[in-house]
């Protein structure tokens, strides 16, 4: 399934180009604006998370509606391996498609090309984790919505709430329950990394900052994979 997903993506070059070009066009004005670093970081975080969530959910809903998911399931390919490989492939593909736009954001932070590229590389783990969590969230939403219209609405709402609880829009009072939630939110490393990197600080994360988000992402993966059969077996219908 991993190979098939990549092969299909490679055969749709036009779509791949658009998926690279649109993030560049959207983030270009932000990258070179004079907005404060936290604001630029918020915009980039929201974009990355929505890109991953929508990009995972909508194709799954569309493929379920046209019977593709069911067709793969009918080959006897397990629904969990299918979804795992599909999400893994989609996450890597998202990372490849977003790389130019993110690189541009780092370069636009006035850090100089060499430093910007270096910081971008050190930020990749946080971006990858955020994209993985976003893809998992999108797949989870896809299992419960009936149409692309519903997918769009529910993805938007869940991704923005998840971002909210990652502290992207404000800083919670230390030791409040929101603050504890933020520390474990899967998108938290992305948010803090972008804030620091775009303001000229280090993009690296202290190891203990990763524990909560990694556990939360693993839990999200378990929940998402538990509904894999629901996504795979569903009868095709109009969307």
């Amino acid at each position: 399934m991993w190979g098939l997903t990549w092969r299909v993506a490679a055969s749709r070059r036009r779509l791949f180009i658009w998926n690279v070009l649109v993030p560049v066009l959207l983030l270009l004005p932000v990258a070179f604006s004079r907005a404060a670093a936290p604001h630029r970081a918020a915009v980039v975080s929201v974009f990355v998370v929505l890109f991953g969530t929508f990009g995972s959910c909508i194709p799954l809903v569309r493929d379920r509606a046209r019977g593709w998911n069911q067709k793969v399931w009918l080959t006897g390919y397990g629904s969990r391996p299918w979804l795992t490989e599909r999400i893994a492939a989609a996450t890597t593909l998202d990372l490849a498609e977003l790389t130019p736009a993110l690189l541009l954001s780092f370069l636009g932070a006035g850090l100089g090309s060499a430093t910007g590229a270096e910081r971008f590389v050190s930020a990749l783990p946080a971006v990858a984790l955020a994209l993985l969590a976003a893809n998992l969230l999108g797949a989870l939403v896809a299992a419960f919505v009936a149409s692309i219209a519903e997918a769009t609405l529910v993805c938007g709402a869940t991704a923005l709430y998840a971002l909210h609880f990652s502290g992207v829009f404000r800083s919670a009072d230390p030791d409040s329950w929101v603050w504890h939630v933020e520390r474990a939110a899967p998108f938290r490393p992305l948010v803090t990394m972008l804030r620091e990197a775009l303001s000229g600080g280090t993009a690296g994360q202290a190891p203990d900052n990763w524990v909560g988000p990694l556990i939360a992402t693993a839990a999200l993966a378990l929940v998402t994979l538990s509904v894999a059969a629901r996504l795979a077996r569903a009868v095709p219908h109009d969307v």
């Binding site: 098939l4 092969r7 493929d63 593709w68 399931w73 390919y77 077996r233 095709p236």
Partner: protein, 312 residues
């Protein structure tokens, strides 16, 4: 060995529409079972339940083969549109665990058999509906005897006469190799040739079952006659029909008759039609088939569409 065994299968769609009610069937290895019935009679629902994509609302189903050993063609025909037909087929076989070299040769062989070799390198998105149907059948049949069970919903849709005959040959070969086939179709000649046994579904229930030749023989007639008339007949003609000719249920513009006397009944029938004031536009004589069996059992033509039945 019994491959499929179902008892008391029932399914109700949201809103109370009853798709199946108390359906029971058993299919042995090396057997081809045809499921016939008008649109809306529950054929597709039955195939989906047998394919395990729908859970029956009631009843019991046992399938002795895993999904990996089952080839399913449903009414929807999804493909990886941007891939070529040949690659799409090879990759679906790979998902089933067929080794690459074997998948390649099986794909080439089956595509050639189903007349798709010329377009095998073209993207599936450029295929016509008939070609997509043939590609779906190729996916199902590519592994040949590697599959134990074939579940096919309307496999002849979009196929020309030659394609149908080819499909009959492929299915008979699969059955001869120990495969089991359950197919839903409203094509009397196709089902008559391909299937060892047929069940008729009507409003979600099995109304008859048997070997095609036996069911047709039980009709006790040698020919079926259809007459297109203008103006359309307002009601079933029955009064004053010559001896040995039976009037069947007619549809708008078409009168249907059966005769035990073969073509010898035609002169008398022609005289009767003229006397009754029917302006004959066309007259077709054919041997009785499974469509006639269904019509005689239910009074409804196979090509009719059944209106949904709802509770309450």
């Amino acid at each position: 060995m019994t491959v499929l065994c179902a008892a008391g299968l029932g399914y109700e769609y949201k809103g109370g529409r009853v798709a199946l009610s108390g359906v029971g069937l058993a299919v042995e290895a090396g057997e081809c079972l045809g499921v016939m019935g008008p649109n809306g009679s529950g054929k597709s629902t039955l195939i989906r339940i047998l394919a395990r994509t729908l859970r029956p609302g009631s009843g019991h189903l046992e399938v002795s083969l895993a999904l990996r050993d089952t080839a399913v063609v449903l009414d929807s025909l999804p493909f990886a549109e941007s891939l070529s037909g040949a690659e799409s087929l090879r990759r679906m076989l790979a998902l089933r665990g067929v080794p690459r070299a074997e998948a390649r040769s099986a794909a080439n062989r089956t595509l050639a058999t189903l007349g798709l070799s010329d377009r095998a390198a073209d993207a599936v998105s450029t295929y016509s509906t008939g070609m997509r149907r043939r590609l779906a059948l190729a996916e199902a049949l590519a592994a040949g005897s590697g599959f134990g069970l074939f579940l096919l919903d309307e496999p002849t849709l979009g196929l020309d006469v030659e394609g149908r005959l080819t499909l009959v040959g492929l299915l008979r070969a699969a059955v001869s190799g120990g495969g089991t086939v359950v197919l839903a179709s409203n094509e009397p000649s196709f089902v008559g040739r391909a299937c060892d046994r047929v069940i008729f579904l009507f409003d979600g229930r099995v109304v008859a079952e048997g070997r095609p030749t036996d069911l047709i023989a039980d009709l006790g007639r040698s020919v079926s006659i259809e007459v297109d008339v203008d103006p359309p007949a307002a009601s079933d003609p029955a009064d004053g029909l010559p001896a040995g000719i039976e009037a069947l249920r007619s549809s708008a513009g078409t009168l249907r008759f059966a005769s035990e006397r073969g073509t010898a009944a035609l002169p008398a029938l022609s005289e009767w039609l003229a006397a009754a004031g029917h302006d004959v536009r066309a007259l077709r004589i054919r041997e009785p088939d499974l469509a006639d069996v269904f019509l005689s059992l239910t009074g409804v033509p196979l090509d009719a569409t059944r209106v949904a039945e709802t509770d309450g």
